[in-house]
Symmetry: C2
Subunit: 203 residues, 2 copies
Amino acid sequence: MIRLLLADDEELLRGALCSLLDLEDDLRVVAQAATTTDAVRLAGQHRPDVAVLDLEMPPTDGLHAAAQILARTDGTPPRVIIVTRHARPAVLRRALAAGVSGFVPKSTPAARLAQIVRDVAVGHRYVDPEIAASALTENECPLSDRELEVLGAARAGAPVSDIAATVHLAPGTVRNYLSSAMAKLGVATRHAAAHRAWEEGWI
Amino acid sequence: MIRLLLADDEELLRGALCSLLDLEDDLRVVAQAATTTDAVRLAGQHRPDVAVLDLEMPPTDGLHAAAQILARTDGTPPRVIIVTRHARPAVLRRALAAGVSGFVPKSTPAARLAQIVRDVAVGHRYVDPEIAASALTENECPLSDRELEVLGAARAGAPVSDIAATVHLAPGTVRNYLSSAMAKLGVATRHAAAHRAWEEGWI
DNA sequence: GAGCGCTGATGACATCTGTCATGCGAGCTG
DNA sequence: CAGCTCGCATGACAGATGTCATCAGCGCTC
């Protein structure tokens, strides 16, 4: 019997997956969470074999939760499967770096999920083949850490002075980073750069 | 027996909902679609009693599909239920204006969906109570049509000249609309305004 | 027809952005 | 140590953006 933790902020999906997976004789959902904090807490309490975490979850995100769950020192931590609608190569890379065992886009057929859970439970890894292929062929993110940080702060449309304040840099420096990021991405405004970086999953 | 059309671009959710609803004795999913075009086509072919449409679907969106499905002239069109993660009062208003019978955020418990489908099938309407309350109390979108149009074109971070080209207006005019929109929203840049308008579901 | 509100446009002006050259200090590398 | 790169910062400059006053046309109402 494989014991599952299910975490997703959308009740509709979580509930549907729960009943879907519970239909399988060898799977049992032992805990559900709608937030990352609950997910981490319940993972500690219930010690599931596999934790299925949505990537987009308040208050942080699935990767933070995964890192915390995997960092537990007493006993073996559960295997973690990340489920996401935002399935981009950059996200996959970050997920694997965090030590997750499965990476499942929401475009995966529901019927296959149970088998993925079983595979992961016995120690295998599962990565969506299409995303994996993209991750190998697509070019890496060309932006430096600082550029990403600054773009992240620019995402909501804030003026340079605000960005500089949140990133703790001089306004001129911020403009330099934005400028180089824009040059690398081939766009004309920092907002276009931020938009693009977001779509690519870089920030 | 209530015959259902299920449309959602996320296989995972669509598949899970399908098996969930098929468990009910009086419901049967007769067609599934991942795009709005398929949804419209299959609604014509299979004549379901109820169509459950995701709002966020390529290539257009669930409201367009709903409008097309409801516009059919031969026979009675199906009742339409819109499911969305982006549950804001403005979206609800647009959905009701399009003639849909149900408005269900993805935060709704999965177990309740079957009952909502039954209610809608017999002619009732269902609107998520929380969103409905917000729609009644929250202030309406303060922006004019032109302002919304211009903000929509500004969303990807394009410079004013590009926006002017896509909207077929003079650059100076575009700046006026952007300026008034920014004033109404109390923000300092058009990108912040566009971001805000997007989050509120206005564009 | 005068008045009013709305849309679309123009021009002037202050400010913000994007670009670029440059400087300074920390770390590393010969 | 000298030379080098790299992260961070500054200053100057052109062009883009935000603000504002103003105007013309159009439809509407009194």
